[in-house]
C-alpha cells in the first residue's frame, strides 16, 4: 500500500515561523512552496530557508515536497538544486504541459543526484497540471517517468486557461476526470485542487466528499485547519469497517471450502469486493475511523 497522501499542506517557503512549526499539524505531506507564495525579491532567501529546513530533524519523519518555480524561469533550476541537495522527497513541477517537461526535469535530477551523492532515482516527482494542454496530455505525463508519485490538478491557472472561473466544480469536471483516469491508468496518485476560502468549511467538506467519491487520493491544502476535516472525511466509518471485516471473513471461509465466489447476506463476494474490503481495512488501520 502506498503511503497515505490525503493532505498536502502548502507552506510559503519564505515564512520562517511556518517552516518552524508546520510539522506539528500532522499533514501527510508538507509542501514547501518556492513559486507563487514567494515574492520575487525573496526567491533567493526562501530557497535557502527551504534547503536548510529540509535537513532539520523535524522533517525527517514526514514526506516533504518542494514546489519549484518552472524550469523556464531564472529560479527553477536553482530551486531544484536546493530541494534535491536539501533532501526533499518529492519535487512538484508546476505548469506541466507535456511529458517533455518531465523529461527535462529528469535530466537535471540525475545530474544533481550524482553530484551530491544521492541515489539516482531517489527524488520522486509530482506533476502539477494547470492548463488545457496539460489535461489533454495527462496520460502521457502520468506515464513519463517511474519517479512520478502522482499528478495534481491546479485550478487557478487552469480556469484562466479555460476562460472561466472557479465555481461549483462544473468548471473542473472534465479536468478532474481526465487527471484521475490518467493517474489510475499509470498506477500513481491523484491530487485535487486547493480550497481557498478557509472560512467556508461546509463548502470545503462538500468538495472533499465529491473528490473522495471520485477516487482522488487527497487534496492540496492551504491552511492547517483543513487537515483534520479532510482526514476525517477520508476515514472509513464503523459501518464500512464492520462490513469489510464480514467480507474478508466470508472470503476466508470460501477459500477454506474451495469456492472462488461466496455470498454474504445474499450479495456476491468476489475478488474485486474482497480487494476493496482489504484496502478499506488498511485505510482504517492507518487513519482511524470517521467521527
Amino acid at each position: 500500500m502506498s503511503p497515505l497522501r490525503r493532505s498536502m499542506l502548502f507552506l510559503p517557503g519564505s515564512n520562517a515561523a511556518m517552516l518552524s512549526t508546520a510539522f506539528i499539524y500532522h499533514a501527510d505531506s508538507i509542501m514547501f512552496d518556492l513559486e507563487d507564495a514567494v515574492a520575487l525579491r525573496e526567491k533567493d532567501s526562501a530557497r535557502l530557508l527551504v534547503f536548510n529546513a529540509l535537513q532539520h530533524p523535524m522533517y525527517q519523519q514526514i514526506e516533504t515536497v518542494v514546489r519549484i518555480n518552472p524550469l523556464n524561469t531564472p529560479f527553477g533550476l536553482l530551486d531544484l538544486e536546493a530541494a534535491v541537495r536539501g533532501g526533499a522527497d518529492v519535487i512538484r513541477l508546476p505548469k506541466t504541459d507535456t511529458p517533455e517537461d518531465i523529461d527535462e526535469l529528469e535530466g537535471h535530477l540525475v545530474r544533481i543526484e550524482r553530484e551530491c551523492g544521492r541515489e539516482v532515482g531517489s527524488t520522486r516527482v509530482m506533476a502539477a497540471i494547470e492548463s488545457a494542454t496539460g489535461v489533454i496530455n495527462a496520460v502521457a505525463i502520468a506515464r513519463s517517468t517511474p519517479r512520478l508519485i502522482g499528478i495534481a490538478l491546479a485550478a487557478f491557472d487552469y480556469v484562466m486557461d479555460m476562460q472561466t472561473e472557479r465555481g461549483d466544480g462544473t468548471e473542473l469536471f472534465y479536468a478532474r476526470c481526465a487527471v484521475l483516469h490518467a493517474a489510475r491508468a499509470a498506477r500513481i496518485d491523484a491530487f485535487d485542487v486547493v480550497w481557498s476560502d478557509v472560512n467556508d468549511e461546509a463548502g470545503f467538506l462538500r468538495e472533499v466528499e465529491l473528490i473522495r467519491k471520485m477516487g482522488f487520493n487527497g487534496k492540496s491544502l492551504i491552511n492547517p485547519r483543513q487537515i483534520d476535516l479532510l482526514h476525517n472525511a477520508y476515514a472509513p466509518t464503523q459501518l464500512e469497517v464492520d462490513h469489510a471485516r464480514r467480507v474478508t471473513e466470508a472470503a476466508k471461509e470460501g477459500e477454506r471450502n474451495g469456492l472462488g465466489v461466496v455470498s454474504l447476506n445474499g450479495k456476491m463476494v468476489d475478488a474485486p469486493i474482497i480487494e476493496h474490503a482489504q484496502r478499506l481495512l488498511e485505510r482504517a488501520a492507518a487513519s482511524g475511523l470517521r467521527r
Partner: protein, 97 residues
C-alpha cells in the same frame, strides 16, 4: 567569500531573525541580539561562527537581531545575507550543506 556591499536578509517576525552585513577591512565583527540570548546565546553564536567559517567569510560586520529562530533558520538567513553581499556568480552547494 568577500563581503563587498551591505545586505539584509530575514524579517523581524517571531521565529525569524534579521541579518545585516557590511564590508569591513581585515576584521570580522559579530553582534548578536536575541530575545533568548540567556538560554541559547552560545548555541546561536556557534551556528553563526560555523556558517561564516563554511562560507569562508573572514572580514565584515555581521549584525543579528534574533527573534527565537531555529538553527536552520539562522543558518539560512545568514547564508542569504552573505550571498547578497558578495559578487559570487553562483552558489557552491557543497559548502552550504
Amino acid at each position: 567569500m568577500n563581503i563587498v556591499r551591505e545586505a539584509l536578509a530575514g524579517t523581524q517576525e517571531s521565529s525569524d531573525l534579521m541579518v545585516k552585513v557590511a564590508p569591513a577591512a581585515n576584521e570580522l565583527e559579530i553582534i548578536i541580539n536575541s530575545e533568548v540570548i540567556r538560554q541559547f546565546g552560545e548555541q546561536i553564536r556557534q551556528v553563526v561562527d560555523e556558517t561564516l567559517r563554511t562560507l569562508n567569510v573572514r572580514a565584515g560586520l555581521i549584525i543579528i537581531q534574533d527573534k527565537g529562530a531555529l538553527d536552520c533558520v539562522i543558518r539560512a538567513r545568514l547564508q542569504s545575507a552573505i550571498l547578497r553581499a558578495t559578487h559570487e556568480p553562483s552558489i557552491d552547494w557543497r559548502i552550504m550543506q
